[in-house]
């Protein structure tokens, strides 16, 4: 893999990378906040399952989906934060711009791949929750 040693992006490009870093930071913070909200939602669903017994099965599945989603969102927030560091390094350092770009692209690609797998898993859990809900209401 090329290290692009010596190649420097222009100031205009550096500004673009800085803007992408800002956007990644905001998205990362939003994901972390949403993960915490899903943890709260799961706690409430588990509470319902605990007090309602078997009839609360729907909430149990919902709680499991919430926990899985919170874990995925938290991990994605961490990955985006890593990508943000690489993107910001393009503008803030000299001598390894291409290496930082490749690092950022690799992290973003891996994040997108994990999100694809997570989307399939969450869809499956939502379908199970829907079926459990219909089983509960006939």
């Amino acid at each position: 893999m090329s290290d692009g040693k010596g190649y420097e992006f222009s100031a205009e490009h550096d500004a673009l990378f800085a803007a992408l870093g800002g956007a990644l930071g905001r998205a990362s913070l939003g994901l972390a906040a949403l993960a915490l909200l899903f943890v709260a939602l799961s706690a409430e669903a588990w509470h319902s399952l605990w007090f309602n017994g078997p009839v609360g099965a729907f909430f149990g599945v919902l709680a499991l989906a919430g926990v899985v989603l919170a874990m995925v969102l938290g991990h994605t927030a961490w990955s985006l934060s890593r990508a943000r560091r690489s993107v910001l390094a393009v503008g803030q350092t000299t001598g390894h711009d291409v290496g930082h770009v490749l690092d950022a692209m690799r992290t973003l690609r891996d994040t997108l791949r994990r999100l694809e797998a997570a989307a399939v898993a969450v869809t499956a859990l939502v379908v199970i929750a829907y079926l459990a809900h219909h089983g509960r209401h006939g």
Partner: protein, 133 residues
């Protein structure tokens, strides 16, 4: 100064482009689902929910469909620019710069979508399960 990425780098850009395209399609599907769910909440509110809850959550969900579609559109455009880095020669840096601009727009849209989603989830946490039931 022109710069060309190596064949191995191009492979990374190619796989990144494909992943971005698949996520853009998933984002479009999510936007359509959110729009359909939001419309259903506003037009056909479930009778077992407290009055006004379903239309309010439906309206927020409908609102959430806009940034989701916006993010998907920019991610699709970014996937094309990233793909061009791998498939063309002589303009790698302009293509990377274009891709970075598109990714910035996509992640800004994602941040707006997360804000709306956060409000929706917070509303669900506060209204639908106030006592865990």
């Amino acid at each position: 100064m022109a710069y060309e990425f190596s064949a191995q780098d191009n492979e990374l850009f190619d796989t990144m482009s494909k992943s971005s395209r698949r996520m853009a399609r998933a984002g479009t599907a999510l936007a359509l689902l959110l729009a359909a769910g939001g419309l259903a909440g506003v037009l056909l509110p479930p009778p077992h929910l407290p009055r006004g809850v379903a239309p309010a959550v439906g309206a927020l969900t409908l609102l959430g469909a806009l940034p989701a579609g916006w993010a998907a559109r920019h991610l699709d455009a970014a996937s094309k620019s990233i793909g061009l880095v791998a498939s063309t020669e002589g303009h790698d840096v302009p293509h990377v710069a274009d891709a970075v601009g598109r990714l910035r727009d996509a992640f800004n849209a994602l941040a707006v979508m997360l804000l709306v989603d956060g409000v929706v989830v917070a509303a669900v946490v506060a209204m639908l399960f106030p006592r865990g039931a």
